[in-house]
């Protein structure tokens, strides 16, 4: 029994959540093989070979793998799947897009977004936006699993020296064409992995007012999040959305400002270690999950917050 871990990368480096996926894969079985599909992705394959938990790396290269289209990836993974009992990938947009296409071709009922490995066939996964946890047992001979990256620690990234093998590319799927990717570049920590997240909601009242959030995030070296209400109102772009249909974050500190705390938002942040809520409505549901609640007008509280942070001699980075 071996686990085929589909690595997410940008052809040069592994994406950080691949390390979390390797940890999850290794809890299923210690024989973890990392599959790196891309174009000129030798550096990413080398990085995968240095993960001590990875026993073997398989690379598949072709120009049409450059942009990670599921239609191109799935057939070659299905072909390689013969030798594996489990196929594992992160449940971010890359894995969510790809894994069901593999599972259907293998006639497997996929187990999505697991947060815990109970055994090789039994897993825990959140349902109903995390309002319930289901323990499920898969009866498929070959299991397709996506893992919630924030529920598993990242594995060690250096010290390993797994052999790198090359596999033959599959055919190109010509009916889907990549046009462009507009990535939001930022010097801040990534929302998904940041130690501190400061999020704004509808209470921010405008995109301009997010400057108040930005200045605090700058001070704390934090990522900036938002509720769907704030995104829908056009205050901030969707890649900042935290919640059931956005990103799931588990920072050490989550500061929710002007966010009422709809079920869908709580789904994306309530596992955070420490939660702060700043809201002028004392009855807002966000207070029910907050470790520290401050009932106050955010337009007064945020400038004061910055002032108090400026008074501190040291701030953890």
């Amino acid at each position: 029994m071996s686990v085929l871990l589909i690595a997410e990368h940008n052809n040069k480096e592994l994406k950080s959540f691949t390390l979390n996926a390797v940890t999850a894969a290794s809890q299923i079985d210690s024989d973890v093989h990392a599959l790196v599909i891309g174009n000129n992705c030798g550096d990413a394959a080398k990085a995968a070979s240095e993960l001590p938990l990875v026993k073997k790396v398989i690379t598949v290269e072709a120009t049409y793998y450059e942009n990670f289209l599921a239609e191109n990836f799935a057939p070659v993974i299905v072909k390689l799947a013969d030798n594996y009992s489990h196929i594992v990938c992160s449940a971010n947009t890359f894995g969510k897009n790809l894994m069901p296409r593999i599972a259907a071709k293998l006639d497997t009922s996929q187990v999505s977004d697991i947060i815990k490995v109970e055994s090789a066939d039994t897993f825990v996964r959140p349902i109903y936006a995390g309002n319930a946890f289901a323990t499920v047992k898969s009866s498929d001979a070959k299991k397709c699993i996506t893992i919630r990256p924030t529920s598993f620690d990242p594995c060690e990234s250096t010290g390993g020296s797994a052999p790198i093998e090359t596999a033959e590319a599959g055919e190109e799927f010509s009916l889907t064409k990549f046009v462009k990717r507009e990535e939001v570049k930022s010097d801040r920590p990534e929302l998904g992995t940041a130690r501190i997240v400061v999020s704004g909601g509808r209470g921010m009242q405008s995109g301009d007012n997010f400057k108040l959030i930005t200045s605090i995030a700058d001070k704390l070296n934090a990522a900036i999040g938002a509720s769907r209400a704030a995104v829908d109102a056009g205050y901030i772009s969707n890649d900042h959305q935290v919640g059931q249909t956005g990103k799931v974050v588990v920072p050490d500190l989550y500061i929710a400002v002007g966010i009422s705390g709809a079920i869908q938002h709580l789904a994306g942040m309530k596992e955070s270690k420490v939660i702060v809520a700043i809201n002028k409505d004392g009855e807002a549901p966000i207070f029910s999950v907050a470790d520290y609640g401050l009932e106050a007008d955010l337009f007064e509280a945020l400038p004061q917050f910055l002032e108090e942070l400026n008074k501190l001699n040291t701030i953890q980075k």
Binding site: A104, S109, Y128, N131, E182, I263, V276
Partner: protein, 249 residues
């Protein structure tokens, strides 16, 4: 051009979910049910494309128990032309739903199949991609903008890093993000009219699809509760607690 839209009946997004005491699932008796929210976006987009003259027919399809028909009826009330209800009981896993939809696609031969990107009950996010795989069609998942061109679609997808644009040939599958559009409400006259629109009913077994679950649900439980927090009276107190008590800054 013909558009098939798959819709699912789920517990309404505003309902506070309660886990059954015996751990077999969540309470659904006397709970408000609605169409899965991003499926509303899928219907809206299909109807908009038809209104723009680029599609001739919108068919709404659902898989589920008798009452799932309400979801199709709602789609008819906002502009779908006819409905299909494939009856099946219990938990129907995405792999089974996609096989059922494959049979419907083979019969109806739509140019496009739309559906929500994920259902808010099981949060699986699988069916659209699985259907694309079974049909070997292009897939545009998490769509927040769709432009219909001649025999092609240009779709903007919401991905973790930002936005991705792809061009796909039809026939194709599109799974819709909540940001795709603003679903309309059904007007009373349209609700009345929808009652006369046809809904074809059939059983999953008539289509030769085995819907028995391949994943056994062992137990469903409440997530661990957070310990009750405290209210602080000032910003200064908050910062002091974060620094000295929680030690996170």
């Amino acid at each position: 051009m013909k558009i098939l839209v798959a819709v699912k009946r789920v517990i309404d997004y505003n309902v506070q979910i309660r886990v059954k005491e015996d751990g077999t699932g969540v309470v659904t008796d006397n709970v408000k049910m609605s169409t899965n929210p991003p499926d509303d976006n899928a219907i809206e987009e299909a109807v908009k494309i038809k209104e723009s003259g680029k599609a001739t027919e919108v068919i709404a399809v659902t898989v589920g128990e008798e009452k799932a028909q309400e979801t199709v009826r709602k789609a008819l009330a906002v502009g779908a032309d006819r409905g299909i209800h494939v009856k099946a009981e219990g938990i129907i896993e995405p792999i089974a739903v996609s096989k059922i939809l494959q049979k419907i696609v083979e019969k109806e031969k739509p140019d496009l199949v739309f559906m929500g990107k994920q259902a808010i009950d099981d949060d699986c996010n699988q069916t659209g991609q699985m259907l694309s795989a079974l049909l070997n069609w292009p897939q545009a998942t998490f769509a927040s903008k769709i432009e219909v061109k001649d025999g092609k679609l240009e779709v903007i997808r919401e991905i973790d890093e930002g936005l991705e644009t792809i061009e796909i040939n039809t026939p194709a599958i599109v799974t819709c993000d909540l940001r795709l559009n603003e679903p309309r409400y059904a007007s009373l006259p349209n609700i009345m009219k929808a009652k006369k629109k046809p809904i074809e009913q059939m059983n999953a077994s008539d289509l030769g699809v085995d819907t028995a679950p391949k994943i056994q649900q062992i137990k469903v439980e409440e997530p661990p509760k957070r310990k009750a927090g405290i209210k602080v009276s000032s910003v200064a107190e908050l910062v002091q607690k974060l620094k000295n008590e929680a030690k996170v800054i």
